[in-house]
């Protein structure tokens, strides 16, 4: 079955990645692992130049129908973020917004983040939010209470108390969880499905920061039914991202 990757990054994060054409690398992996659709955000926009990074993603998704884009926003640059949302979120090949990890910007329930989400309401699109601690999950729940109509894709990262994060969002039905190579502790896939239900768990490779075999290995190893596995790697993403 062709896979739908709900979170990949265009750009280089790690010293393990070689210099070169990251798009070619991602495309090579997409072919090799049968990933039909990749939803990408710009690593450059997250850590460096917001506008330039988002522009590069726009160029990529314009040229290659395999890719769909996220607009990265930066709570420290509300105006520039608003401009990029306006510029890209009306295009059919962009599907959502990525909030930078709280350690790079601000807590998910901060005034700045709330302002950003308010600005984005008109676009009716999902947000990707990184959770580095269980406090981040609590902050995400606070944020969603102010915006019950908005879908949030929560991405737990290595070192976070993911079980607490899952419990905190368990009953918040507009939050789904993305299992990815960013957190490989055993049990997260099975526990996410047990706590949130099989419709609220999605798969993201976290390429190019992490190689897709990390997360595909997790999904292969996890004790899941075939139906759960299919929902995880493709079906749920269509619903949550409106594809």
């Amino acid at each position: 079955m062709p896979l739908l990757d709900v979170y990949a990054e265009l750009g280089w994060w790690a010293i393990q990645s070689r210099d070169g054409d990251e798009v070619a690398v991602v495309e090579k992996f997409a072919e090799r692992y049968n990933i039909a659709t990749l939803c990408v955000a710009s690593a450059e926009a997250m850590r460096g130049d917001l506008t330039l990074g988002n522009k590069r993603v726009a160029e990529l998704v314009n040229q290659n129908p395999r890719f769909r884009g996220y607009v990265v926003v930066n709570p420290n640059h509300l105006e520039a973020s608003a401009e990029d949302m306006k510029r890209y979120l009306t295009r059919s090949n962009f599907l959502g917004i990525v909030l930078p990890p709280p350690s790079l910007a601000h807590p998910l329930d901060s005034w700045r983040t709330l302002e950003l989400v308010k600005m984005a309401r008109r676009y009716d699109c999902p947000f990707v939010a990184f959770v580095e601690t269980s406090e981040d999950a609590q902050a995400l729940v606070s944020l969603t209470k102010s915006f019950p109509g908005i879908r949030f894709l929560m991405v737990p990262t290595q070192g976070s108390d993911w079980w607490a994060a899952l419990k905190i969002v368990e009953d918040v039905t507009n939050i789904s969880v993305v299992v990815s190579g960013l957190l490989t502790e055993r049990g997260i896939v099975e526990q996410a499905i047990e706590l949130l239900g099989e419709r609220r768990v999605l798969w993201g490779s976290a390429m190019t920061r992490i190689h897709p075999t990390r997360s595909l290995g997790m999904i292969q190893e996890a004790e899941l039914t075939e139906r759960q596995r299919n929902m995880l790697v493709e079906i749920n993403a269509r619903h949550w991202l409106g594809l």
Partner: protein, 246 residues
């Protein structure tokens, strides 16, 4: 995606016991079932009790688990150098029981690699030709451990390295002959190729962190790398064998 692999595997980084920080099943049964699934011949494990509670109690439990596994699980002893008193006696006792490796956990136990008791412990192990593994997730620690490694001859394997300090680790592993790197930090096939090119394939030892982490997450990036079968074999089994036999 690959399942069981044809290459022999010995995993130097596994766990058994109760994990106090998350509800993850680290029972010997789970570890043995993963080993069967992926064709792991032997797993070197530490008992969580030895790391998080009391080294002597945990090392005793490790002996028991190893015995019950029929030789598939090989115990690695650990100590907390902050407890200092009785430390050397505990080392002697474990060596008499047949332990061949020690592993240390400064980040879990709240000490730094540069503290004096750990230096004394490393010298003591060196006098008895016992190699050890040490977790090294923090920036600056690899440099401290490298200074210690230059004073001894025994092989030292750096484990649990993070993305943040991998560059520092490569720098010291490259320049200090008796430093080695456990591979669970290498998340990319390209990463294996790059690390081998930087420090040499003989310096790498396969470890998964299972059952705390999904085993496949550690194995698949290596299998999907373009390293030769011979190099993969070195990483998966031969380098560790050489270190332990030395």
């Amino acid at each position: 995606m690959a399942g069981q692999v044809s290459l022999p595997i010995v995993d130097c980084n596994t766990w058994v016991g109760f994990y106090p920080r998350q509800a993850i099943d680290l029972s010997p049964q789970v570890l043995l079932s993963l080993m069967r699934r992926y064709g792991v011949a032997r797993a070197l494990f530490v008992h969580t009790t030895a790391v998080f509670y009391d080294a002597r109690t945990g090392n005793d439990l490790a002996v028991q688990v190893a015995r019950e596994s029929g030789g598939l699980l090989l115990p690695v002893a650990t100590l907390n150098p902050l407890q200092y008193r009785g430390m050397f006696e505990e080392v002697e006792r474990r060596l008499q029981q047949g332990f061949r490796l020690f592993r240390f956990f400064p980040h879990w136990q709240g000490w730094l690699p540069k503290i004096a008791p750990f230096r004394d412990l490393a010298v003591f192990l060196n006098e008895r030709s016992v190699p050890f593994l040490i977790d090294c997730p923090k920036v600056g620690w690899a440099t401290e451990i490298a200074e210690l490694a230059r004073e001894v001859q025994i092989p030292i394997i750096l484990c649990d390295v993070s993305e943040d300090n991998l560059g520092e680790v490569l720098c010291v592993v490259k320049s200090v002959p008796n430093l080695h790197l456990e591979t669970s930090c290498i998340t990319q096939p390209d990463g294996f190729e790059m690390v081998c090119a930087e420090v040499g394939v003989d310096k790498l030892v396969f470890g998964s962190g299972a059952p705390l982490h999904y085993f496949a997450s550690a194995l698949f990036p290596l299998l999907h790398s373009s390293l030769s079968e011979e190099d993969k074999r070195k990483i998966l089994v031969e380098n560790l064998r050489r270190i332990v036999q030395a």
